[in-house]
Symmetry: C2
Subunit: 113 residues, 2 copies
């Protein structure tokens, strides 16, 4: 999630990794996460992985054009190729417009006396 | 993800739980996941949790009306109240329309000879 009024955009990247130590995934992942921070229109991301190898990364964007620009970024394109040759058993990319957002934050609690 | 052509809808529920054994969360969660399967317009869901207590559930829907109907379902409403009184430190609900989806599935591989 991001602290922002709707509308904004999200990319839901759901994937199952192949377990291959030394396949360059970790290094590329680190490079990509540092590069994406510099992309115009990038708002943030959340990443969750499960022990079964499934994971989801939700990245947030100001516009669909910003998503398209990141998709064609050079290092990201190289990663997309490696994703298909080496890293993923399968993945799905869903492009979404967030039309509404609401939430809850617990008020600070007084210590028991 | 769901096996479906866009457009469809998603609800991205991001939350941090409070660690309180015996707070009824697990039982309610099981009840809700069995009830949601019967909701009109429900397409499926993915759930990921992290060791730090953060988690995301992405549920998929045919329409925004189906999302609204689930939000007002009686047991789900009771859960929403318990969520605020007991279960969550914070949560965010994002309502999204998936406008495009694509993916990759690795072809079956021949065993090395």
């Amino acid at each position: 999630m991001v602290e922002r009024e709707a509308p904004y955009w999200a990319v839901i990247f759901t994937a199952v990794r192949r377990a291959k130590p030394g396949d360059g995934y970790a290094a590329m992942n680190e490079t990509l996460f540092s590069r994406v921070e510099e992309q115009d229109g990038f708002l943030g991301y959340d990443n969750y992985t499960r022990e079964d190898g499934a994971g989801v990364t939700i990245s947030y964007w100001e516009s669909e054009a910003a998503i398209a620009a990141w998709k064609s970024e050079a290092r990201h394109r190289a990663a997309q190729v490696k994703g298909q040759t080496d890293w993923y058993q399968w993945y799905t990319v869903e492009i979404a417009q967030i039309s509404r957002v609401y939430g809850f934050t617990r008020p600070l609690e007084r210590e028991a006396e």
